[in-house]
């Protein structure tokens, strides 16, 4: 592990109008670490995830990815985003492109790879997430689980340094959650740096190095999963765990 954290957030604040969504966020994610962000809805965890590739700009503070501060809007920001993979709750596959085209668009247009190379690498990725046979279909023709796996492949095609997951299984039917989590666990085991906003406690226990618990825009706890789940320090975390673990 190097000294430079892959993600570093320092004194980050953000408002949506009057709503203070992120309050003095300080967070470091070391290379190769898997950090799961938990918290009740409205706690700011998705916003936190989206600030890291500047899909949401911040009001104050600094965010660095691999030691480089986030640039302002423009070519430099696009370059940084290419190195930061993102997986969305609602998949957001390009609706007018086939699955293979979804996976090759970035490598061809951003990385300037040849179409042939991009397709070869893309097919290998589709193989890895188990949907090679869907390559020529359009996103709407796939199940939610298949779409999300394709979205993960699309992000991986950019060979990112870090992957952000914004509630990747929240829009899925229950029987499709596992297939997506399996892909994510494999990725974590391979040493990918990941920041995962999720409600999947099983994933947090199995794959996370750390759990970050957020409430009301603040990071309230930051602990290893076992410690967080068995002996949370704050009442808010106890309350949250009580609600989700008893259902």
């Amino acid at each position: 592990m190097t000294d430079t954290p892959m993600i570093r957030m320092a004194s980050v604040d953000k408002h949506f109008g009057d709503l203070h969504v992120l309050r003095d966020i300080n967070l470091e994610v070391a290379a190769g670490q898997v950090v799961v962000v938990l918290g009740p809805s409205g706690s700011g965890k998705s916003t936190l995830c989206r600030t890291i590739n500047r899909l949401e700009p911040i009001d104050s503070g600094t965010i660095e990815v691999d030691g480089k501060a986030l640039p302002a809007e423009g070519k430099a920001l696009a370059g940084l985003r290419a190195d930061v993979g993102m997986v969305f709750q609602s998949f957001n596959l390009f609706a007018h492109k086939t699955i293979l085209e979804n996976v090759t668009l970035g490598p061809v247009k951003v990385r300037r790879n040849s179409k042939g190379d991009a397709e070869k690498a893309g097919l290998a990725l589709l193989e890895r997430v188990g949907i090679t046979n869907q390559r020529d279909k359009y996103p709407a023709q796939l199940s939610g689980g298949q779409q999300q796996r394709a979205a993960i492949a699309r992000a991986l095609a950019m060979k990112p340094k870090v992957m952000l997951f914004d509630e990747p299984t929240s829009a899925l039917d229950p029987e499709m959650v596992q297939e997506v989590l399996d892909v994510m666990v494999t990725l974590a085991k391979e040493g990918m740096t990941m920041l995962v906003v999720t409600h999947e406690m099983g994933f947090a226990r199995r794959a996370a190095n750390r759990v970050v618990f957020m409430a009301d825009g603040e990071i309230v706890e930051d602990a290893v999963p076992e410690e967080f789940f068995t002996s949370p320090r704050t009442d808010r975390a106890k309350d949250f765990l009580g609600k989700i673990l008893t259902h």
Partner: protein
Amino acid sequence: MDVLVENLGLYWRGVLTTLQISLYSGIGALVLGTIMAGFRVSPVPPLRAVGAGWVTAVRNTPLSVVLFMIAFGLPEIAINAPFFWFGVTGLALYTSAFVCEALRSGINSVSTGQAEAARAIGLTFGQTLGEVVLPQAFRTVVPPLGNVFIAMIKNSAIVGAVGVGGDLYSVGVQLTGSLGEAAIPVLIGVALGYLVLTIPAGLLLGYLERKVAIAR
């Protein structure tokens, strides 16, 4: 109605001239309108202001005024061209404002997640628009864009009225004026001439709409 049969050649040349004006203006309006729509949704505030200013200025000015300003204004700054091209330029500029707004409605119909995903893999603003948003926007804008272009074909009559000779409208003027034919039969011929253009245009648009419709 003999006037129709006797002057079929004249009418036909009118149809072709109107078609020429419409094609050139249509291409110009599509290019400029797309650029302006890009401006209006860009992350750069000055560009947005230019796009909004363009639409406000051009959309709210009568076409005849736009045409006169070009026909009399451009020669003042030493830009001279055949009147045909002044007419085409004016009609293209005027129509571009409507193309821009039709396109913008289509851009707004594409979910923000599509643009976010495009930005997230490192596409620039231009690439996001060109590769992801506009191809999907064009699907929803075929019907409103069709309206704009059919209106434009008919607006070419005003281009004829301000002095481009030989188009359908001018044919009508010529027949009823200097050749002294009765107005109603001549104008029926003119109307039929426009239908020769607008009905195939409508059919083409219907075909396009089916062709670009893909499940999303």
